[in-house]
């Protein structure tokens, strides 16, 4: 019995070691041996993803200004188990801080708590870790900032800031969508030229979103801007506007991914749209991690500088929003379409 247990143990140890070899941390700054340089581990959901490569790029940029060293690492597949192995490796290397985008908010908590016990500062970015497992969470944006950005985009796209706007949402019960919408409506009075024509629901399926968009432009022939905050919705709305021959007359905007919208940006159907910028996110996460490692106290409601991205304040739950979503248009969409 005991022998079998030992055998299992040996095999799993070997498996861990083999797996460990496949995901050797990529050290960015080579040949530095100084002890006072901060070492920050940035953990991706998985390696080989354009999004996290961009995060890595931003982290390197921040590290250069902070005199820190980035250890960018992650599992080869997006699993919590893989991240735990990665974290164990980082703890063994005695990094000063860890920033993680978690594949599971709870599964990584015990490992991260062990890291914190050893004096490593832990933050999560992008995808949060439960409160027990980190000091703070840096969200890419907040409902309020998203709402403001979208209202601003609509105003910029409406001719001379005047005209009717309508929203193609997902399902009527979607929590995210509804809170973004509520924030957008709150921001609308800043743009008196805009007239809110209503919300239709595409249920996050292409055919219904398409049909609802067609109905919108028939119901409101003077519609200026269609806003969609869902990645399925904005693509379907753009196709519907293009098929209706209204390109340039009715503009589509909202939240979407550059790789999915690059074609419509080129054609002018979606002149600009917003989503977080992964480079900025990596940059900001590194700033926060470095300042925590240098004994900043975010829990007192102090503002933490994010360098060129701005500043962030963390609430009682330790959650803070980085910035307004980044605006993508003709000038930069091609570059980001290759990333995510």
């Amino acid at each position: 019995m005991r022998r079998r247990a030992m055998l299992v143990g040996a095999v799993s140890l070997a498996a861990v070691m083999i797996a460990g070899c496949g995901e050797r941390p990529q050290t960015s700054n080579e040949g530095n041996g100084s002890g006072d340089k901060l070492r920050i581990g940035i953990v991706a959901k998985n390696l080989g993803s354009g999004f996290f490569d961009a995060v890595h790029k931003g982290a390197d940029e921040a590290a250069a200004t902070l005199g820190a060293e980035i250890i960018f690492t992650g599992p080869t597949t997006p699993t919590a188990e893989g991240q735990i192995e990665t974290l164990n490796a980082l703890i063994a290397q005695r990094v000063d801080a860890i920033a993680i985008s978690a594949n599971d908010p709870d599964a990584v908590v015990p490992t991260l708590q062990r890291a914190m016990q050893r004096g490593i500062k832990v933050i999560s970015y992008d995808s949060a870790v439960a409160k027990a497992g980190r000091a703070v969470h840096l969200a890419p944006s907040s409902d309020e900032l998203i709402g403001q950005t979208v209202a601003q985009l609509a105003s910029e796209l409406a001719p001379e800031g005047k005209g009717k706007i309508a929203v193609v949402s997902a399902t009527p019960t979607s929590t995210n969508q509804n809170s973004w919408l509520a924030q957008m409506k709150q921001a609308l009075p800043q743009y008196p030229g805009l007239q809110f024509a209503g919300v239709v629901y595409g249920d996050d399926v292409a055919d219904k979103s398409y049909r609802e968009t067609v109905a919108l432009v028939k119901q409101h022939p003077d519609l200026a801007v269609v806003v969609s905050l869902s990645s399925v919705g904005i693509v379907a709305a753009a196709k519907a506007i293009e098929d209706q021959g209204l390109t340039g007359k009715v503009k589509v905007t909202g939240l979407g991914l550059p790789s999915e919208l690059v074609g419509y940006v080129r054609k002018g159907v979606v002149p600009k749209f917003a989503i977080w910028n992964p480079i900025d996110l990596g940059y900001a996460a590194t700033q926060v991690a470095a300042q925590l490692a240098r004994d900043a106290k975010p829990e007192d409601g102090n503002e933490i500088s994010l360098g060129r991205v701005g500043a962030v304040t963390f609430d009682a739950d330790g959650v803070g929003a980085m910035a307004k979503p980044f605006i993508y248009d003709q000038s930069n969409v091609e570059q980001f379409a290759a990333i995510f």
Partner: protein, 324 residues
């Protein structure tokens, strides 16, 4: 002679569709303009094609829950093909979509026929399997409009006499189905195999084989619709047309196809599709709350089911009518 009850029912449904159109037009005068009607036909074309395929399966006492997953898988296949070989033109795309759909449909058919498995179980299983394969094929990524060639997107939008190629495809399929179901041995055998499998066996028709044929044809149509769907909405991802199989089955039920098999007409199915098409294009235009839209769609299906149940007693009429 076409049995009277079905003809009466089709006529009644036709009157309902027309009066629905008329009442929407009074509220929204632009609705009945030819251009808008052509758009409703264009919007309903994929539903019509799929519902015709589904009708065959239901006629033979089966059901195909995997029809939308088949559509999505075949659609993803041709989207990836077009992305990687944009210069191939439209013929290979159509061919591969149909071949892929046929194979996926034949898998359902063979499982139901050879292993005598319940159709709802088989297609519930293949529905998930096909969706899973799409994820494996695409790695979870999207194929977007900028990856699709102009011919790929343009073919279904080509206009002839004011109607799109997509609409013409549906019209052609309706005509072909009307002829096949009414005048060919295959069509009559499908009705017989579903209407009374025991009697069909005695007359030398293998009901299992007819089921397999029905699934295969249904699959071929679903495969073709995969291309049509992807080209129409200019996007392919794992979840396209998720849950659309229920709309297709609803269209068949509203159109008077009996879920117990053996009864159903091409005209009824087309009217069922147009009914759904008019409703789903009219409701957002009138500005009815989305919760009411769901409620109305559901109500229509329940009413259709009640009507079907009431007609169950004269089910035998079809065999007698055929024998005559």
């Amino acid at each position: 002679m076409m049995q009277n009850s079905a003809a009466r029912r089709d006529l009644a449904l036709g009157v309902i569709v027309v009066s629905l159109l008329a009442s929407v037009t009074t509220a929204f005068p632009l609705f009945a303009r030819p251009g808008n009607l052509a758009e409703i036909l264009d919007d309903s074309a994929i539903l019509i094609l799929l519902a015709l395929g589904q009708m065959l399966v239901i006629l033979t006492r089966g059901i195909d829950l995997s029809i939308a997953a088949n559509l999505a898988l075949s659609g993803m296949l041709v989207a990836l093909l077009n992305k990687n070989y944009p210069g191939l033109g439209i013929a290979p795309v159509l061919l591969i979509a149909i071949v892929s759909g046929t194979l996926l449909g034949a898998i359902n058919g063979l499982l139901v026929w050879r292993l005598k498995l319940p159709p709802i179980v088989v297609t519930l299983g293949t529905m998930s399997v096909y969706r899973g394969v799409i994820y494996l094929l695409s790695g979870g990524t999207w194929v977007n409009d900028n990856h699709m060639s102009p011919q790929f997107l343009g073919f279904i939008r080509y206009e002839l006499l004011g109607l799109t190629a997509l609409s013409w495809l549906a019209i052609f399929a309706v005509a072909a189905f009307a002829v096949v179901m009414r005048y060919t041995v295959l069509g009559r055998n499908l009705y017989t195999a579903g209407g009374n499998p025991a009697a069909a066996t005695y007359t030398g028709i293998d009901p299992g084989r007819m089921q397999c044929i029905a699934y295969t044809i249904c699959g071929a149509i679903a495969g073709l619709c995969g291309y049509l769907w992807v080209a129409r909405f200019a996007v392919a991802y794992t979840d396209i047309a998720l849950g659309f199989e229920l709309q297709v089955i609803a269209a068949c039920l509203i159109g008077g196809v009996a879920i117990a098999g053996g009864i159903g007409t091409v005209a009824g199915v087309v009217l069922g599709c147009l009914f759904i098409g008019v409703i789903r294009n009219a409701l957002p235009l009138i500005g009815i709350s989305p919760f009411w839209q769901m409620g109305i769609n559901g109500l229509v299906i329940v009413v259709a089911a009640v009507l079907s149940a009431r007609r169950r007693e004269d089910k035998r009429a079809i065999l007698e009518a055929q024998a005559a």
